[in-house]
């Protein structure tokens, strides 16, 4: 059995997988893990999620890997040495995540822990995509560059396509990212240094004229903390509609509320901008794949986006699209461009990757 852990600084989501039951998932949310002070109790809770089956490995989804972590890595002393150096980039994430990992390491002493990074895939971005147009010394001193996100998904998505194909991968999650790939390499990605650029989320702003930030600072004397708070926590769908509700609730209002409709229109136009950027980077298009945890509830949005680009040579099959397979092809045979929807969970993706990782015995230290 392999466990996949998704940590959001408060709770953990534990998904269990057994190799022989591909597709069988049992998952459980454990809330406020810091409050469970007793390590033995903690261990019991985790082991009991799927009966006391033997745990072969525990994999973790880690949001940021900096320049050092370019692939899935075993969690050991060397790991912590390099991971904790990333504190500067992500101050509220790295120390808490490091502590969580150390706790697992202590409790599950003999089980290999594997860290998967959302940024590893994008270390291969071409130079012209990576750097911002700021004076180059800021890259050198501060590593201000495009780190990308959802690398685990985008890399997995791109594996299903043939060599030489030009692919667009769009992931709908708490963040939405658009990534262009070819030959297992990323050519562009919408999320750069922070989620403030790129595509809007429930509370963040997506692409914004930097002049607006300067205007608010210089003319209206707002501090960078105030503006940062506004852009990341008070904008997005919440800011435009005025309703502080979840995305699925927002979708229920779609078509019924003018402000929500405008929010979704802008959301789609931001996605379109990055689809355009991706097509420019690829010099054409062969496949599009939609994936992510929200891909199920976003079916109407996907439908609208695809409709807008039918002219590129896409023939879709009519709704409703089947929900029985994990990856479905929503285009007909004559369609020049193929469009897929993947309902695979991030945990499942990590599980597959973990399986591969473990099978390669050179990855695991002999315990």
């Amino acid at each position: 059995m392999i466990l996949v852990i998704d940590y959001n600084l408060k709770d953990i989501k534990v998904s269990t997988f057994e190799e022989k039951f591909d597709g069988q998932i049992l998952s459980s949310d454990i809330k406020a893990i810091d409050e469970i002070k007793d390590d033995d109790l903690f261990k019991k809770i985790i082991q009991n999620i799927n009966g006391k089956k033997k745990i072969k490995a525990i994999s973790f989804r880690i949001l940021f890997g900096g320049d050092y972590f370019d692939k899935p890595t075993l969690v050991d002393e060397k790991f912590f040495l390099h991971f904790e150096k990333l504190t500067d980039f992500f101050p509220f994430y790295v120390p808490l995540t490091s502590r969580m990992l150390k706790r697992f390491q202590k409790i599950f002493k003999d089980i290999p822990l594997i860290a998967f990074f959302e940024t590893s895939f994008f270390l291969k971005l071409p130079d012209k995509e990576k750097y911002y147009t700021l004076p180059f010394e800021y890259y050198q001193n501060n590593r201000i560059k495009r780190w990308g996100f959802h690398g685990i998904f985008h890399q997995a998505n791109t594996r299903i396509f043939s060599k030489g194909d030009r692919n667009l991968s769009i992931v709908f999650d708490k963040q939405t990212t658009v990534c262009a790939t070819r030959n297992n390499k990323p050519l562009s990605v919408s999320l750069g240094y922070t989620p403030l650029g790129g595509i809007m989320s429930r509370t963040s702003c997506g692409d914004l004229d930097p002049g607006i930030v300067l205007y608010l600072m210089n003319v209206h004397k707002l501090s960078i903390y105030e503006i940062d708070e506004m852009l990341k926590n008070k904008s997005g769908f919440v800011g435009l509609s005025g309703y502080d509700i979840s995305i699925s609730e927002m979708l229920k209002l779609y078509g019924k509320d003018a402000k929500v409709d405008m929010a979704f229109d802008i959301y789609q136009s931001q996605i379109m901008k990055y689809v355009g950027e991706g097509i420019a980077a690829l010099g054409g298009l062969d496949n599009i794949i939609f994936a992510g945890s929200n891909v199920g509830i976003f079916t109407p949005i996907i439908h609208q986006i695809v409709r807008k680009i039918l002219f590129l040579g896409i023939n879709t099959i009519s709704l409703p699209w089947s929900e029985d397979k994990t990856i479905i092809d929503i285009t007909s045979a004559e369609s020049r461009i193929k469009v897929y929807i993947s309902r695979m969970d991030i945990a499942k993706v990590i599980f597959h990757e973990s399986d591969i990782f473990c099978k390669n015995s050179s990855n695991l230290r002999i315990i």
Binding site: K10, F92, Y93, Y193, T194, S204, I224, Y225
Partner: protein, 405 residues
Amino acid sequence: MKKLIKAKAKGLRKSLEKFAIKIESFKLSSSNMGEFTDLILTEMRDLGFDKVTKDKAGNLIGVIKGYGSKDAIVILSHIDIKTPEQQKAEDVSNSGMTKFRSGIISSIYAGALMKRTMLPMTGDLIISCVPRLGCCDFGTKYLFNDVLKNRVKKIKGVILCEPTDFNINLGHKGMMEYEIVVKGKLNRNFLENRGMNMLGTMFPLISELEKVSKELPNDFNLGRSSLRIKDVSYSGCQPQDEINEFRIVVDRAFIPEETKGYILNRAKAIAKTVYKQEQGITVNTLLAKERIKTYTGLDLVLEKEFKPWSMESHQPFALESLESLNENGFKSNFGYWKKVVTEGSYTYAQLKIPTIGFGAGVEDNIDSSIDSLNLDKIEKASYGQALIVQRNIGMPTFGWSSDEI
């Protein structure tokens, strides 16, 4: 960031309540200080502070290590210890005592919050409780001159946990106690028309001092200086006594433009003028001193003076702290204490370390019941102090929201 800190505060609430009950119900006297301080040290250790110590003067010091070793922040609270005489005098109520306890609780839990959230700081966070016996700040002096001697230049700021009603206080008047000693040989003709009595000879000086007390200078922020005759004593009231001497003990609240030397000299001059017609009179003024023995066994003689201080509101430490509060739900302003004195008299007036006050409660609230220790307010104070620490020495995360991870 705010949400992360708030979430951890919620998790710490039970622990804060338990500690508050222990602290509040402890009947503190100069003889059981050791037990009281041990309570506090244990709490710091239980909350996971990286280093917990007590120094020779009895100061309690808890350190939460920073990710880097740049500037540190010190959060100071104090423990009021009454001398046995003070104890007897004001046994009726514990008024004034309650205030310091909420300061201790909020400062320790501010540290606990920074520890729990693991928000990296560019320097250390030092939480310290200093004992204050009578009217002397020997604890603070020892803390900064001895224990923190090597760090003093690298302290970004000091936060005083005193009641400010959640505002940021930037100073207060100074307080000193001095004596005017008038010695002389009275003879038959001394103030003949008044009769031979000591009280009579003192009246002119007392009345002159009363007059002076009505014309003292005013500071725009800190208020008006004041003069109060605390005590009057005399010895040798008969003409045949060898030496006739009387002393007037004065409680003087003063503002920055008046220095200690200026006040003492002026008092001397006033007294001299009153008795200028008499011969053989000597006048002397001196700062009152107090001899104290700390609960850790140190024997000290200290002058009874707290310097006035008033930090400029455009000081970066003050500005950033105010901004961080107001951007996160507080409605704070800059303010000044009118009645109390604090450790700022040493940290800012003497050492020039940027100092602000921030805490729950109002300075002249004289409630003493256990409910007055409003736990919500204490939690709010520790949250505010954590925000101030985070803004000044925390490493911010821009763009990422802790909600959308």
